[in-house]
Symmetry: C2
Subunit: 327 residues, 2 copies
Amino acid sequence: MSTTAVAIAPDFADILAAANRISEHVHRTAVHVSRSFNDLVGAEVFFKCENLQRAGSFKIRGAMNAVFSLDDSTARRGVVTHSSGNHAAAVALAAHERGIPAYIVVGNNAPRAKIEAVRRYGGQLTLSEPTLAAREETARRLLDSTGGTFIHPFDDPRVIAGQGTATLELLDQISGMDVILAPVSGGGLLSGTAIAAHGVSSAITVYGCEPDLANDAARSFASGNLEKNVSQATIADGLRASLSERTFGILRQHVNGIVTVSEEEIIHAMRMFWELFKLIIEPSCAVPVAALLSRRMEVAGCRVGVIITGGNVDLHALPWLRNSSTL
Amino acid sequence: MSTTAVAIAPDFADILAAANRISEHVHRTAVHVSRSFNDLVGAEVFFKCENLQRAGSFKIRGAMNAVFSLDDSTARRGVVTHSSGNHAAAVALAAHERGIPAYIVVGNNAPRAKIEAVRRYGGQLTLSEPTLAAREETARRLLDSTGGTFIHPFDDPRVIAGQGTATLELLDQISGMDVILAPVSGGGLLSGTAIAAHGVSSAITVYGCEPDLANDAARSFASGNLEKNVSQATIADGLRASLSERTFGILRQHVNGIVTVSEEEIIHAMRMFWELFKLIIEPSCAVPVAALLSRRMEVAGCRVGVIITGGNVDLHALPWLRNSSTL
């Protein structure tokens, strides 16, 4: 899919450089804690609140790093992506901030809120049929006609390095961390998280967390081969992608294990988090929260960091209302 | 209703003393800002986030100040209140922290969540018929039998002084404030807010904000007499009480005006705040937010502080879902 990115992984120096590059363009987000939650899970848990980040998610970190890595003449031709989620809004905002065009391909069934977010930040929308193949083909045509740069939501070392800056910040804000958890979808965030964590201290244990209904990472770890998700059914709409060769390679090197949770656990954890922290988190963020509540990892007495990834939720379709009879 | 409190107002020194007394028992809450919101209202707005406070609201400040003001022999007999809202949970937690009993009278129609909050903090519940008269009578019997101290939700100088510490903190966190807004119900928070603001600077303008459907303060200001709310219909369930002689006296001296907003404006402001800030706020908090959006006050170019009072919301009964057809 074009771009100069070869299948390499960023290293810790790339994350340090990204942090420097994007510092003026992203918030240094707060870390929230709750005594009640700590009592429940028997650990000291520090939530890095990227739901309070610009454009509502950590995705702005990778997008800013990618967009501000481009040389001027390349940048001028604009950037292209075909994610319909938080990455699309992030790329639109990053491009706006650099003063270059962002061409965003969105499936014609995408939620209105996602489309509005892209528009709000000045992104130029192109609608396509709602399949991945159709979106990729539309993006390819846009790349051909504009000479722009494709910014993949996760399979890009610049994006991975940008996402890693959240963990770099967290480890600067909180000392003596033993364990870090992040959700895993395509693996960009978890790759950046793990590289950043081990750049700071090789003693930190890193876990990925994913829904049972999108457990490609757990299956890939188990089989040693890159497995793909076959269902899009999880309510954690940010976690439906599958790993790439690049991210799988990074995770095998740096990640200690993958923990999976059920849809019921995700919904329960999400609602509990809203009630306890008074912070709006997406279903995807609730996956590591659910993993902690499930006690499927050894974290007793540990200092645990959790990357809370985003807060963009459809307030008219909350999962505990749709599923209230099962809770 | 017993207690040693006479009908006096606290002064700025009482608020300073309260801040000192409760500092170990309450959070120094964060101040949140949003560029998008500022653009919308044409002012720089600083939200003091007491929804992130212990027990989920500013009420813990007044409760802690009242409970920790008691001498040991008085304290030992316990404290009594008959609020069913955030004040009840706050009194229960404050008493728990001092190691004394809290006797909480709750109407037998109170929402389960409110009752659970009181129980969680170790409060001893007594159910009564759901009228104010019945709750007062039950509280009176408890006071007689225990020799405890009544802690009124707002008509108490210790409570008012405690609530004022939120503004003291805000003005320490943010310099050069021109205007401060707080919702007004019984007037305890607004009284403390105004005394604290004018203790710091007499140049600060203070507005109270209330629902059209519970506009006793606006009517009292207009008539010069203490007026009462006749309806309990507003969705801002924390703002249904009416001023007392004490709080009305304080407000007449310190508050520049009362702004009222409609139910539709409250619901719109609440949802917008959730989407923009990713923070859960109660309908009551949305009243000053709605007042700013309505532009019914002169705040162009000002630095405006807003006390966000609490985040205890029934996540199964969100107002934009109940009223979605009207929005």
